[in-house]
Symmetry: C2
DNA sequence: TCCTCATGTGAATGGTCATTCACATCAAAC
DNA sequence: GTTTGATGTGAATGACCATTCACATGAGGA
């Protein structure tokens, strides 16, 4: 066996990424240590040099997901200063995220994660809340600038914003890619934009 | 042991219901034959007198879910003849469904079901599609009657309609009931209504 | 160069779970 | 009342899987 040795930091990164990738192709059900190990050319037991348990790996995956979601928001804010445009871009980035890594929305929104321990459930809640707050921030700013209707509740609209993508992502998955997410998102966005912008 | 015997038809119904209930409390991960059997006072092996496999039970659960979703649409259509009102009622019924049986939206929209065999995935797709078509039908009728803006694509709007509830349901779950679904749905509905109705 | 410790390996352990089977028991037809 | 077939039971089987452990090995400091 070609025993290659790498530092724990590198391995942890590899393992978390591998797990995230496996979630996309096999779901939470099909995620096991053996597969994770295979994916990075290790033996199952070696995984335990870098993570205490499978649960801990799941935690790392959640971290990875949080990172990407927050990254999307930041990227979008740098790409444009216009509130409505930021939201549109965020929508598109989110779709891109789904395309590249199907697992992100699945894990975040599947609820399956964190049935066992309440800790994971609240961790998930934290991640979603944080994302929602970022969206709300964009909305509030748009209201202050007069681009978005001031009488709308940012919290409500932020959740609605999530609703623009999520059902579409699921349809995409269960239809085995036949359902056109991008098209749905574009058309839904127009309706949504007209609903929230000032007239 | 108090051996009570019942017909297969009755047992199948009991088993499917028990499984659906367990999905709500334990998720797909925690759904096993032992628990299902316990819930209806049987021994695990007895389950196999009425279902060939666990997969087959899952199929029955999907049937149950489809039944309830379609039932909601029918009920709503009997309650009101007005398109917008029908949609509002459907939204509320859906929330009621979530409250009574958390598992319905979870199973339908979690994507975890049907990772193994493609058959289950397309079954799920069928169920969602059917529900969407019913919503589209209501929308088209509203357009014909002039209550809903004619230039909107019913298919797009129907998916958006799903998006009004789904993220809220998930937030409700991961927040352990702290997030107020009903409030979110009501407020989101108003915004949605204004977006689709004729002005 | 050698030591040492972090990292990797293969085998073993213990648990869970779906499924099967030989046997028991009830209910209904005769 | 007896027979028969459907339904229920407890034990057993085999698979899968997370985790552990004794041992091996490589990389970097001494």
């Amino acid at each position: 066996m070609t025993t290659v040795k790498l530092g724990t930091q590198v391995r942890q990164e590899q393992i978390a990424r591998a797990a995230l990738g496996l979630l996309a192709t096999h779901g939470l059900q099909g995620l096991n240590i053996k597969r994770v190990a295979q994916r990075i050319g290790m033996v199952p037991s070696a995984i335990y040099r870098h993570f205490k348990s499978k649960e801990e790996i799941l935690d790392a995956v959640l971290g990875l997901i949080e990172e990407r979601l927050v990254g999307n928001v930041q990227a979008v804010c740098e790409e444009s200063a216009d509130s409505l445009e930021r939201l549109r871009l965020l929508l598109m980035h989110h779709i891109q995220l789904i395309r590249e890594n199907e697992a992100v929305p699945r894990v975040v929104f599947s609820e399956e994660v964190g049935f066992g321990d309440p800790a994971k459930k609240s961790r998930l809640y934290g991640i979603i809340s944080r994302y929602l707050q970022e969206v709300e921030e964009i909305l509030r700013r748009g209201q202050k600038e007069g681009a978005i209707r001031a009488e709308l509740d940012p919290a409500t609209v932020a959740v609605m914003f999530l609703g623009l993508i999520q059902p579409a992502a699921i349809l995409w998955h269960v239809s085995s890619g036949r359902f056109d997410v991008t098209r749905q998102a574009s058309k839904a966005w127009e309706i949504f934009r007209e609903a929230i912008r000032t007239r």
